[in-house]
């Protein structure tokens, strides 16, 4: 039998390119170029490595406006078989609850055996969406996965999980949602012919909230959390003294520790 592996990817502002607005002194995210959330590349690699071992079909999905399509093209170029753009104005204002509901319904819709995600996104860094997908569907989950091993004969996926103070090997029944640990997978380069195909010929499938049957269950109205305010973090006051001699530094340290 063929496994269906769904990989959730997201377009985010490039964290390395976020500049400071000279007028306000605030971070200017709008001008940063949009890129694929870097941890999602680990998830794509994990999916493709499973496909190297077992018969599988890998489908990238993203939730966002049509201008997020380039992240799907990148996934197709890396080796995904298909890609789905979930797009609808109804999603506006969604926190992690309706976001994970939407991805959960999409995974169900695609008859996923495995859903792979990055550990968290660099723009909101909650890490709540992968467990949220599993919870909405009542599926198993494997988070902080540093390695994955398919066991099709058992109908299970085994992951090496990073836990405080060590590691554990956990086997989960399919379907399962996996959040891979960032930096643990070496994303494969996209071959040139795949890039050309992805950019010139490929068109993602589009799904709306209505297609997924969740038109009234997404967006701001069903989001339990809201942002009450933002404040600039005040730096901790430090002395900022620079000394010339190592002896002076040693004296300062001795004083602190005595």
């Amino acid at each position: 039998m063929t496994w269906t592996i769904v990989v959730g990817v997201k377009q985010v502002p490039d964290a390395d390119e976020v500049g400071i607005d000279p007028d306000t002194g605030r971070l200017d995210r709008a001008s940063a170029p949009a890129v694929m959330n870097p941890p999602d590349r680990d998830a794509l690699e994990a999916a493709l490595s499973i496909k190297d071992e077992v018969e599988a079909r890998v489908i990238a999905i993203t939730m966002g406006p049509p201008m997020a399509t380039p992240v799907l093209e990148e996934a197709i170029a890396m080796g995904c078989d298909d890609a789905v753009l979930i797009t609808d104005r109804a999603f506006a204002g969604s926190d992690t609850w309706p976001t994970s509901l939407t991805l959960a319904r999409a995974a169900e819709n695609l008859e996923a055996d495995i859903v792979l995600c990055g550990e968290e996104t660099t723009d909101s860094s909650t890490g709540q969406v992968p467990p949220g997908i599993a919870a909405h569907n009542g599926w198993a989950q494997l988070t902080y996965a540093e390695a994955v091993e398919p066991r099709p004969e058992e109908g299970r996926l085994v992951a090496k999980r990073d836990v405080e103070g060590g590691h554990e090997m956990v086997a989960a029944e399919l379907p399962v949602v996996v959040a891979v640990a960032y930096g643990e997978f070496e994303p494969r380069p996209a071959p040139l012919h795949r890039k050309i195909y992805a950019e010139n010929e490929f068109e993602p499938v589009q799904l709306t909230a209505e297609d997924l049957g969740i038109k009234d269950e997404v967006g701001l109205a069903v989001s339990p959390t809201s942002v009450g305010g933002m404040e600039t973090v005040q730096p901790v006051e430090r002395k900022g003294e620079v000394v010339d001699e190592i002896d002076e530094l040693a004296d300062q340290i001795t004083e602190v520790l005595s």
């Binding site: 709540q128 989950q141 973090v233």
Partner: protein, 345 residues
């Protein structure tokens, strides 16, 4: 039920502050006691009960310690199905307890375990769940103000959950101080409540095949830290020498971890751990905001960097411009003659 809001619930039905006590094979994660102390501050304002919640096997000692540390009550779900930890049984049990007892606030340590199962409680109960919180408070109406770093740490965002209950948060380990344990507290056995276990092994959908947990460093407990960054270019020896002279633990910036020089369990910063040692020595660390955020609660910060313009000097009390390979051993030698190591404790 005229008191229900737009979300279909009546917030007045919900009361008490719950703190999840995370334990693995009898070992309690330090963040649990940090949260219990912080939860106490909330209940002092709201007049509610502070309830500790433990899930695992053979939890008597853990429950008693929670009372000695100030919990008004302890809810215990004690069963072999919960040991070792798995997301699905934990989530199902915690959810059942929330639905039956309706707490208004639930605080969970933002460990890999806490962040793993919290969604399995918040999703089915449609609770508000805020991740990676570093400051908490309640307003005059008892509404939780959960603050978390956003946009790389330059901004602190306040997240609210106005209409849904409970108000849940995963809280970053190391940002709060644990309270004292009073072992003379007369433990009231009636304050420990064994709850019904709703999970059966036959219903679980995951299995722990192997668990290897032990000697990985817990830098969040360290009193002295020497941390290395990209500037050491893989050469750890000088920093280790300094760490030995100071009886300090080794830590690292994200760049040093990503380069594979230091294990990820020792990473300090937004995507790593928050530390608060008495002394933090930054070696070859530039001082990006994401790193500073994880160490700015340190007592005294020392910077060693070749670049006089590196931001780390603004986040340090004392610094020296110089090559770490030169400075660290000399500093170690000088400190050894001054015998600072024996002074403390």
């Amino acid at each position: 039920m005229s008191d229900t809001n737009d979300a279909g619930i009546n917030p007045d039905e919900y009361e008490d502050v719950w703190v999840f006590i995370e334990e693995h094979a009898g070992e309690v994660m330090p963040v649990s006691w940090e949260l219990l102390e912080e939860g106490k501050k909330l209940t002092e304002q709201t007049g509610e009960n502070l309830v500790a919640l433990a899930i695992g096997e053979d939890l008597e000692d853990v429950a008693e310690e929670a009372l000695e540390r100030g919990a008004d009550r302890v809810l215990v779900a004690d069963d072999p199905v919960f040991e070792p930890y798995r997301a699905d049984p934990y989530g199902a049990q915690f959810r059942a307890m929330v639905e039956a007892r309706k707490p208004t606030i639930v605080l969970i340590g933002g460990t890999h375990t806490g962040r793993d199962f919290a969604g399995r409680v918040a999703v089915p109960t449609h609770a508000g769940l805020t991740a990676d919180v570093t400051e908490i408070d309640v307003d005059e109406d008892g509404l939780l103000q959960a603050r978390r770093p956003a946009f790389g740490g330059d901004i602190l965002a306040t997240i609210l959950c106005e209409d849904h209950r409970p108000q849940m948060a995963t809280i970053r380990p190391g940002v709060f101080e644990p309270g004292d344990r009073d072992e003379n507290t007369a433990v009231d056995a009636d304050a420990i409540l064994e709850v019904d276990v709703v999970v059966d092994e036959s219903e679980t959908i995951s299995e722990v095949l192997e668990r290897d947990v032990g000697d990985t460093a817990d830098i969040t407990e360290a009193e002295r830290i020497v941390a290395v960054g990209e500037g050491v270019e893989g050469d750890l020896e000088p920093a280790l020498e300094l760490a030995e002279a100071l009886d300090a633990d080794l830590a690292a910036s994200r760049a040093a971890v990503d380069a594979g020089w230091v294990d990820g369990s020792r990473q300090v910063g937004q995507t790593g751990k928050t530390v608060r040692p008495d002394l933090y020595v930054a070696v070859g660390i530039s001082g990006a905001i994401q790193h500073v955020e994880g160490m700015n609660k340190s007592g005294t910060v020392i910077a060693i960097n070749t670049d006089a313009n590196a931001p780390i000097f603004e986040h340090a009390d004392h610094g020296i411009v110089g090559d770490f390979a030169d400075v660290c051993p000399k500093l170690a030698e000088t400190l050894a003659t001054e015998a600072v190591v024996e002074v403390d404790q």
